[in-house]
Symmetry: C2
Subunit: 200 residues, 2 copies
DNA sequence: GATAAAATGTAGTGATCGCTATATAAATAC
DNA sequence: GTATTTATATAGCGATCACTACATTTTATC
């Protein structure tokens, strides 16, 4: 994984660790948003010069895509984590919201969800499209999961969950802490269960 | 109102209508976010050159502040509108959410709430602070209103409403339409009522 | 008409944006 | 060693950023 990805290849070896670079970029994009982080700053933080940057990632948006994928493949995929713990449908959804309340509050200058808010208001249509695609994929997974038990109301229920998560991410980026987010997550979880109970 | 605000003053008269300029800037900031709209574009849309721009508004952030205040003083202040129609507390809150579902969907390239999302991810701390201050004032007004009937749980209930509105604004900016937003607004309204009913 | 005040047009400031042309350094293949 | 390949460093590309210095035009006051 972290091994030399260049072993056996021909030319000069990379002087920096690509995975570390993606990790650093992920943190910067998450903290301040796509547009607010420049290539110059990324290069400085990563310790590389522009040619190495573009040889490795193709473009700023290319690095953003790597960062998004790394983010979604890790602990930030709270729905996958909630699903992995098993339990009933409503239980998984409520666990997802509670995980969001634990993950989203500010830590080391980073708050909210990178996928949901990392490219918001970006002037770069490529970055916006990348984030939007991943966001929709996440909501789609939640909708499909809900549909296994509630095929009729899956869309509406998934929209409710998605809006709650987008709101929690925005609120966390606005400074809301874990306690307050957890209280709201519990309210939303109760609301979800009650919607299921009504004419289920 | 739209009269010559310069009558009686000494120097040359303005060649443009300041109110119209603020209106245009409001629309642009709302459509694409604070950072993505440049002073050059604003000047072109407003039909004025940089010196006139800075003489009238002081800075880009100064114009943003005017735009925010104009926005919050008009039909976008959905809580004030919901309150004006009277009714019980839960009724007013639910009406606020339903008004958001009607106001937030995309129209002419504009979606969501300017105060909640207009400066999100902005690199300018002044613009961010302006939007944050107005957002907090709005949530505070909702909290105080809830506290008249539910002083103990006003904070939590207001947080729930705020997160729902932030989520609806974000969802609208991501393309969600009025029908889907209304369904979620109704769900959230029911959730609010049920939270009130539980050990009220 | 002379003076003062306010707004305008012309032209440009330094800084930063994402990105690249070119040459050099470091590795393997033969 | 020679050729080939890859990554590097130096330097700078044109474009855009928010903003301004300066001279001119338009108004009211005196």
């Amino acid at each position: 994984m972290t091994a030399t990805e260049n072993s056996g290849a021909r030319g000069r070896r990379r002087s920096f660790d690509v995975d570390e670079a993606v990790e650093t970029a992920m943190r910067l994009f998450h903290a301040r948003g796509y547009d607010a982080v420049g290539v110059a700053e990324l290069g400085a933080e990563l310790g590389i010069k522009p040619p190495s940057f573009y040889a490795a990632f193709g473009s700023k948006a290319g690095l953003f895509e790597r960062a998004l994928k790394r983010y979604a493949a890790g602990e930030a995929n709270i729905f996958a984590r909630a699903q992995a713990e098993g339990g009933g449908m409503a239980e998984v959804i409520e666990r997802t919201l509670l995980l969001a309340a634990r993950l989203y509050p500010e830590r080391d200058g980073v708050a909210g969800c990178l996928v949901l808010d990392g490219a918001r208001n970006s002037a770069d249509p490529e970055a916006s499209a990348l984030a939007r695609t991943m966001s929709k994929a996440g909501v789609s997974a939640i909708r499909d999961f809900i549909a296994t038990e509630q095929p009729e109301r899956a869309d509406a229920l998934a929209d409710f969950v998605a809006i709650t998560m987008k709101g929690m991410s925005a609120a966390a980026r606005d400074g809301m802490g874990e306690e307050a987010l957890t209280v709201v997550a519990r309210m939303a979880g109760r609301a979800f269960r009650r919607e299921l109970a009504a004419e289920g």
